[in-house]
Homo-oligomer: 340 residues x 2
Amino acid sequence: MTTPSAFYLDCDTGIDDALALAYLLASPLASVVGIGTVSGNVSAAVGARNTLDLLELAGHAHIPVAVGAHHPLAGSFGGGAPWVHGENGIGEVSLAPAAASLAGESAAEMLVRLARTHAGSLKVLAIGPLTNIAEALRLEPALPSLVDSVTVMGGAALAPGNITPVAEANIWHDPEAAALVLAADWDVTLVPLDVTMASVLEEPHQQQLLASSGAVPRALGEMLGYYFRFYEGIYGRPCSAMHDPLAAALAVGAVRPALAPVVRAAVDTTSGPGRGQTVCDMRGLYAGYPPVAGARCRVVLSLEEDFAPHLVDTLLTLGEDAAVLDSTTAALASAGALTR
Amino acid sequence: MTTPSAFYLDCDTGIDDALALAYLLASPLASVVGIGTVSGNVSAAVGARNTLDLLELAGHAHIPVAVGAHHPLAGSFGGGAPWVHGENGIGEVSLAPAAASLAGESAAEMLVRLARTHAGSLKVLAIGPLTNIAEALRLEPALPSLVDSVTVMGGAALAPGNITPVAEANIWHDPEAAALVLAADWDVTLVPLDVTMASVLEEPHQQQLLASSGAVPRALGEMLGYYFRFYEGIYGRPCSAMHDPLAAALAVGAVRPALAPVVRAAVDTTSGPGRGQTVCDMRGLYAGYPPVAGARCRVVLSLEEDFAPHLVDTLLTLGEDAAVLDSTTAALASAGALTR
């Protein structure tokens, strides 16, 4: 049996963040050792509450959650995307408020601490704006040598953006942070809109989740109803892109890219029409992407197989067991045994 | 029989400009009434000499050629691309120096004059940087109401750039001019790298041109040898993209787009990594590009059929007849009958 890898998750929970979190909890390849939140889909504080509530529902209330940056490195938080994720960030689905409390450290501090604790083996998965990761690089310049891998859901290489014609939301919300993260001394796997927009969950997948006996899959299925309504305006049918869970599956290694060239990449931090664009050098396209000296950004463009069935199957394992564990955890938490 | 349309060609001749010019001369759908040159592949002055020499070789020395802008609107001309087009701009092929002289007006002045003369019917085909077109808009703000159509070879919508990761050469060499042209009160057909890089001339096509009895197809075949060597580094085999002649064929209507959404487009004029990018809003991709209110840029993404055979067949019509006409023209020109 494979030993699960230690994961630090940085998120802005968020419907697809909720799916990614649940996927990581369900995956036998991952052990989430800490979660930081950042403002993006919702504020860092709301994202942290959603994360705590989801963890408790999934019977994982022991995983520490730290609130991260409210504002991006430059400018200020713009209020999130309620038209995509709902006012509460999770599609207006009501979860029981978790008893567990927030960690006493910031997300960046948590990342640095975990990177030192799990020196050389921590996998970093960032599915929100990259403010916390940039701050962690500032707190600990040796961070790149301490972590095993960095996977980022964000950007668009050859695909259109989703906030501007060229900018994807996670990068758009903090281009300055993204620029620092992509320029740091580590290899980054970028999971951009090119591949996430092609990884679509359809209504039958949602029905499978709603029909589960597990509280978590059912809650995710309900959230997807909200998400589907937004994406109907994009795809012309009720369905949704699977941005964050796909990044999670690639980070754990359960899903393999078919095409993922390693290229030079920078982030546009001007105030021009390209602001927030991940400027990936895809000029090797016509020769099958020959190796590029000094390139450190692995851009996932396509997958070996359709992601949706694997995602749904994995989420459905969060069934009865989790619900039982959940009751136990809730009982323990309300008894004060799990406060941190 | 169709009446040929009056064309003003703006070019930076250039190997693929030479092919586009020859294509227009050969096409029964086009009548070139004036040509302006601009610095790009070569300087505006060298481009004008190449154009005159090609016109004389093709027996069309009567078409007036005006030298246009040497420098872009901002900054200065960078010296062209000899590694792509050769030191002389036409792949080191030597053409007999034309006897005809240059027009006494600038390219922008010529465009404005022709637009007035052919009011409502002039088709503008720009296959170099857009400096002259921008200057013509300044000279005659009513220009958009005077011309029939504007077709521009330039930019990259979803494809990589060819000068930077996101910028195509014609736009890169004068982003400020391109921004003015795309913002003017007219519809523009953009023929970007997305479609030109997929329209490839192969060695058998070159052999067909070299085997022609016409001096023009043979000269073009020789130029392609140089061009192929550059593009071998891009495609991994000797061949070449057909940027400019494809724009010509689309402008005359001999080739039809399979997919050409009309979208909003702007040009990045910052000094950031996106400088020179045509920021086309392709976000309608996932719903089949529904109509967008106020959009005026028709971005050609694909063709109904392969362009290369049509191009070669058309160029091969510049055979014996042209060579005969050429001798006549040259004799007249050397007798001083054609000086302007």
